[in-house]
């Protein structure tokens, strides 16, 4: 078994490359639609690729085996290695490459070198399948896309429900496409090693696998490991892959699965033959090229070109370079083998009799392993582990949702608290303003009361003065008393106390203005400041003259002086300046 592993190691390497290369075509479109994550897609694909390889891989493997019946392990190893190297180089230069084209090129290179007969009929079938596969991909995807779109339009399903359905459908088609890829492309990986399958038969109770299927299992695992390597390499991102809607991704994958199924199912071929129709050849085809075809099909329906001609040219170049490059490389390697190591190189055509004798030999030395009990144990353990994983995952998700809700509620509470605080502050400020207003009103009332009292005292004084005058009989004494009274009235008329109060109030109301005036023009006299304050109140010259107890002309002179002190030009308005200060 170790020897077999060693011989097929180059094939496994090719399988690994196939896995990394075809991952994009397998689930890249579904990842780009963001409906499934890379990890899940890789796991599902890996599992179904292995299943497809084990249970449906015989058809395409037989075709590769038919093209090159290789009995020398070193030759098979070299052909697979040359194909792997060419595929690796083409992947590095970012050219779309097909492993089937590379391996067929390798086998042809070997056939030419050994001057053995090439089954041109089979070769023609293989090459026509390479062209036919993407063309069928275009037609199928176009039909399926029209059908899916028609169904979606007619169904009127809610976008969220539709999305849930699409998610399920995506997982199903990924599984189908992976199964198809495993079934179809395992021939590339294992085809040249068909003659070296171990004489082993493993019985799992409800199914069993023979030696060739063990090779398929190993090849499937190598492809699956390639997929997981891609997952790690791309770091979970969908960089560099086609961006499609979920329904388009489903159509692409379904087309890919159907085309791969057509070219790998012996059952379908049997149906075609029984119906008298030519069957699809069971040959490995490129899944990447089918995907490209499917995307073009959708593009045609949408009326938009989704794939550039540069991509198509790349595919064409891949079609030429992959087989010819591998053929040349294989030829060169074999040349070195023969010239320098004197290695015998012969090409034995595949004959039924040799195949039959080999089969009888195989039966004689069959080594059977019973895996029924371990299989049941492994299966049960897997079920239990999956159940535990799903249970804890569900719990984790539930807790996460609850935590998110709590965080949101907390944020809501915090914002409401902030709003409440803001409202409280506003109310407090309003109260403060009302308090100030109340104080001012109270002061006004006190002033009015004091004023009334003062007026009363003053009027009493006048009344007593008049009474005294009335009692005085002498003319001289009377006129003297009258003069005293007149003086008292004049003094009262100057309203010194009220005016002072009035100016104080003006200053209080226009606090900012008076502060600015004081700081900007410190050389203004009290009278000028007062005048500026009265001008800001929009009082007329007449009103100002009566308030300041001066003539109108004096007010005009004072205004002129103020304008000069404020350094205003003649054409500038003093009132505008004061109002804008």
């Amino acid at each position: 078994m170790v020897l077999v592993l060693f011989i097929i190691s180059s094939g496994l390497f090719l399988g690994w490359l196939l896995g990394t290369n075809d991952t994009v075509s397998l689930f890249g479109t579904s990842i780009s639609s963001k409906n499934i994550n890379l990890e899940k897609a890789a796991f599902i694909s890996g599992f179904f690729i292995i299943l497809g390889a084990i249970f449906q891989g015989r058809g395409t493997t037989a075709s590769i085996h038919g093209l090159g019946n290789i009995f020398e392990p070193a030759i098979a190893f070299s052909i697979a290695l040359c194909a792997a190297i060419v595929v690796l180089i083409l992947i590095k230069v970012k050219l779309p490459v097909s492993t089937s084209q590379a391996i067929v090129g390798g086998i042809i290179g070997w056939s030419i070198f050994t001057q053995g007969g090439i089954d041109f009929h089979l070769l023609f079938k293989i090459v026509s399948a390479w062209i036919l596969a993407p063309v069928i991909g275009i037609i199928l995807s176009a039909i399926l896309f029209v059908l899916v779109r028609w169904l979606m339009r007619r169904s009127h399903i809610h976008v969220i429900t539709l999305n849930s359905y699409l998610r399920i459908a995506l997982i199903l088609v990924i599984s189908l496409a992976a199964f198809g890829l495993g079934a179809n492309n395992i021939g590339n990986v294992i085809g040249v090693f068909s003659n070296f399958s171990p004489n082993m038969f493993i019985d799992f109770g409800f199914f069993s696998i023979d030696g060739l299927q063990i090779l398929f299992l190993l090849g499937g695992i190598s492809i699956a490991s390639g997929i997981f390597t891609y997952k790690w390499r791309s770091n979970g991102t969908s960089e560099g892959i086609l961006s499609l809607t979920p329904e388009a991704a489903i159509v692409v994958l379904l087309s890919q699965a159907l085309v791969l199924f057509m070219f790998s199912s012996s059952w379908l071929a049997g149906i075609f033959v029984s119906a008298g129709l030519p069957p699809f050849p069971l040959v490995p085809v490129s899944s990447t090229q089918i995907v490209v075809g499917a995307v073009i099909g959708i593009g045609i329906i949408k009326g938009a070109r989704e794939i550039e001609f540069k991509t198509l040219a790349g595919i064409g170049l891949g079609w030429i370079i992959a087989p010819s490059g591998t053929g040349l490389l294989t030829y060169s390697v074999l040349f070195v083998f023969q010239r320098f190591f004197d290695f015998p190189l012969v090409n034995k055509p595949l004959s039924i009799s040799s195949g039959q004798s080999k089969f009888n030999d195989f039966l004689d030395h069959l080594y059977t392993i019973n895996m029924v009990l371990p299989g049941i144990i492994i299966l049960s353990a897997t079920f239990i582990l999956v159940f535990i994983y799903l249970f804890f995952r569900q719990q984790k998700l539930r807790l996460k949702v609850e935590k998110d809700m709590l965080i949101q509620q907390n944020q809501l509470y915090q914002s409401q608290k902030a709003i409440n605080e803001l409202e409280m502050k506003t109310i407090w400020m309003e109260n403060e303003a009302l308090n100030v207003k109340l104080q001012v009103k109270r002061k006004e009332f006190i002033d009015v009361a004091l004023n009334i009292n003062e007026q009363r005292i003053f009027l009493e004084k006048i009344s007593s003065g008049i009474n005294q005058i009335d009692k005085i009989s002498e003319q001289e004494g009377r006129s003297e008393k009258l003069k005293e009274l007149s003086l008292l009235i004049k003094q009262k008329m100057s309203f010194s106390h009220e005016k002072k109060e009035f100016y104080l109030q003006i200053e209080d109301i226009h606090k900012d203005f008076h502060m600015k005036l004081k700081t900007t023009f410190p050389n203004l006299t009290d009278l000028e400041k007062r005048l500026a304050g009265l001008l800001r109140l929009n009082l007329s010259t007449k009103e100002i003259s009566s308030l300041l107890n001066i003539s109108s002309k004096s007010v005009e002179v004072a205004r002129y002086r103020l304008k000069k002190k404020l350094s205003l030009q003649k054409d500038k308005s003093l009132i505008d300046f004061i109002n804008n200060l």
Partner: protein
Amino acid sequence: MFNFKHANKSIDLIEQFLTLIDQGSLIFKDGVKNYLQGNRENFEDNLKTLSNLSSEANIKKRELENVLYTQSLMPQLRGDILELFDKLNNIIDLAKSNLFEFDLEVPFIPSELNQDLTKLTELSVFSIDSLIHAARAYLRNPESVKEQLHRVYLYENEADKLAASIKRRVFQDMPQLKLSEKFHLRYFTLHIEILSDVAQQAADLLSIMAIKRTI
């Protein structure tokens, strides 16, 4: 993975949210009508109801965001859908703050403008109503969104014309009004008209979203 429970919950939330916006627009219309007719008590009731509807819509929108993101529903569409809901939520918030402005500033509205202002309110509300119909259509039948959206544009256009005519009447044919009153009326006309403008902005987004889903 196949969580239909959350999908159904999201559908319910969306329906509730859209109903709240719909109700909000109707309450706004009623509120303006009551203000114009001087039914102060009914107007205050409308204001209270609209305020409740607005905060409820806010809660529903946040809940929806939470479900859509935590359950990874519609990863390709959710960004657009949540932006649309944000715009719809903005409409009810705007309607609420506009009605609050009526309550705070108590604008003087001459009775001869009542009919025009009522019609302007109705046009704005019709545009919101059509927008909600279009949003519902987008969720189930994106092909029919266009049919609904052209109504939004029509009502918005009509509202613009009417608002311009009201402003012209206020500034040119009503010399009895003080300049401050004219400004105030212009400001409140704008308050009502702006709802249809916001509906139009949401309609623009919805139109692009519908195209994205149908191509």
